[in-house]
């Protein structure tokens, strides 16, 4: 699950469901400023990714996830650490 292609695919699948007009290969465009996703789209995207991967994405992490590459890297990192970091408390 943590290999790069499956993470890439997972993020691309979520994008094509939530925002079919966005090119899932455009990894470095800012989802909000460049691609025009609003807070509802971004939340829906995070939800779709969270459900598909089993990784819970806390509210405080969302501001740092502005591009598809950042989402991929975040997801890979979280999956590396293993499941169930859901209840982890911020320091």
């Amino acid at each position: 699950m943590t290999d790069a292609p499956s993470v890439r695919q997972l993020v691309a699948d979520a994008v094509s469901r939530i925002a079919p007009d966005v090119d899932p290969g455009d990894l470095d465009a800012d989802l909000h400023d460049d691609l025009g996703l609003d807070s509802m789209d971004l939340l829906n995207l995070a939800t779709a990714i969270s459900i598909a991967s089993g990784v819970e994405i806390p509210e405080r992490d969302l501001p740092g996830l502005r591009t598809l590459r950042q989402l991929q890297e975040y997801l890979a990192r979280r999956l590396e650490r293993g499941p169930d970091h859901d209840k982890e408390v911020a320091p």
Binding site: P20, D21, G36
Partner: protein, 430 residues
């Protein structure tokens, strides 16, 4: 002699918005003999704004499809007949339309558009139609007496229309819709045929729900009508939200991403509750009088990324919990932007809200969607100086502007609405 226990009901072209006076069945999902149940999607209807799934509101068996795919017909035209198993209607009573269309002034005032006859058209238009490969005899004109205009021909010649099924199949099979057909309507079968051909070199293009030009025209017509007909007045206020946003942030920290609530949902619910309190803003201006609505069906303006907008409806939004409003908002926004709205999603709005919160503009001065009589515009929540007793503080504030139809609403009622909105926002979270 038909079975007395059965009756026939007519399935008519619904009015899917105040600006719609005709539509096209681009795909039937049923055939004569099929059994249908209330809520089944039986057809895809194309309006100027988008393609919509249309549901049936009775149980029965399709007896006849009276309008074939691809033919544009006026609102109210019988599209199909359905035999129901219920008790027959008393003789002489007309069968009820299955979809209760929202009567619109535009539709009521205008006689059904007669199919245009080629002899009626000037040589200039016939020549234009020939040049653009448009079958003028199949066009339904928007000019006087149903006459085809230059605009009608040029519109018909522009971008191909794509059915939702075609769009889904194109995504699945990697078919580039741009390369399918220069004019006309792209159907699912055409996409399947194209998918069997060797793949084209460029990657599949992703289509949007909006078909730019026709949506632009529909918005243009509706907004021009609103601006010309409705004597708008506006009242505005600033509402302080720091406490609410802090509470919401705390709440969201404890929630999973799927359960999270955006400030937009809180504001929409408060807007609906205020419309329920001050019902003078909730309803329609029809036949020279205000018709109050029995419930609050909140139209929410959803902008599409490639331009244009739709206003799907959260029904009885004032009666729903925050979580319910949020869930519906998520669902409607996603389906609006992925081209999967149903006809019932955009019917019967009684009051509309537009939020420009994402665009970092402080306020919006909105235009009413007729026949509604009011619309609330909310700007971006931003930090600004705020007087607290005799000192200045910095607080999160939203500017709320109510535009109302002065034929139906007076300034006092408009002000009461904004006061109610403030109260509901301040009481939104326990």
């Amino acid at each position: 002699m038909p079975d007395a226990s059965r009756s026939t009901v007519e399935f008519r072209m619904p009015s899917l918005g105040a600006d719609m006076d005709a539509g096209t069945v681009v795909e039937w999902h049923v055939r004569p003999g099929d059994t249908v149940h209330r809520g089944d999607i039986v057809a895809i209807v194309q309006t100027d704004k988008s393609d919509l799934d249309v549901e049936v509101f009775t149980d029965g068996t399709i007896t006849e499809l009276t309008v074939p795919e691809g033919v544009r017909v006026p609102v109210g035209t019988v599209l199909a007949t359905i035999a129901t198993g219920g008790v027959a209607a008393p003789s002489g009573e007309p069968s009820k339309p299955l979809l209760a269309p929202v009567p619109t002034e535009a539709a009521a005032e205008r006689a059904p558009t007669a199919p245009a006859h080629p002899d009626l058209h000037s040589p200039v238009l016939r020549h234009l139609a020939e040049r653009l490969h448009v079958d003028i005899a199949r066009l339904h004109g928007t000019g006087p007496g149903g006459r085809v205009t230059r605009d009608d021909i040029e519109r018909a010649a522009r971008a191909p229309r794509v059915t939702p099924r075609a769009r889904r199949l194109a995504a699945r099979h990697g078919v580039n819709l741009d390369q399918l057909a220069p004019t006309g309507c792209i159907t699912g079968d055409q996409v399947l045929a194209a998918a069997e051909r060797p793949p084209a070199a460029p990657p599949p293009s992703r289509s949007t729900p909006a078909e730019g030009d026709s949506m632009r025209l529909a918005i243009a017509r509706q907004m021009t009508r609103s601006w010309q007909e409705i004597p708008h007045f506006r009242v505005a206020t600033r509402i302080e939200l720091s406490g609410l946003l802090a509470q919401l942030a705390t709440l969201n920290e404890q929630r999973t991403v799927a359960e999270r609530i955006l400030p937009a949902a809180v504001m929409l619910r408060a807007a609906a509750q205020a419309a329920a309190d001050v019902h003078g803003v909730n309803g329609w201006w029809r036949h020279d009088e205000f018709e109050p609505a029995p419930e609050v069906n909140l139209g929410i303006v959803v902008a599409l990324r490639k331009g244009g907008l739709m206003a799907p409806v959260i029904r009885n939004a004032d009666q729903k919990s925050l979580a319910e409003v949020m869930a519906e908002l998520r669902d409607l926004v996603t389906r609006t932007r992925t081209g999967r709205l149903r006809a019932s999603d955009i019917e019967s709005a009684t009051f509309t809200v537009t939020q420009l919160g994402e665009n970092e503009v402080d306020e919006v001065s909105p235009i009413i969607h007729p026949p509604q009589v009011a619309i609330l515009g909310l700007g971006a929540v931003h930090r600004e100086p705020w007087a607290v007793d005799d000192t200045l503080a910095v607080r999160s504030v939203v500017h709320a502007t109510l535009a109302a139809d002065h034929r139906a609403v007076d300034g006092r009622v408009g002000s009461m609405y904004l006061i109610a909105l403030r109260r509901h926002l301040q009481e939104a979270l326990p």
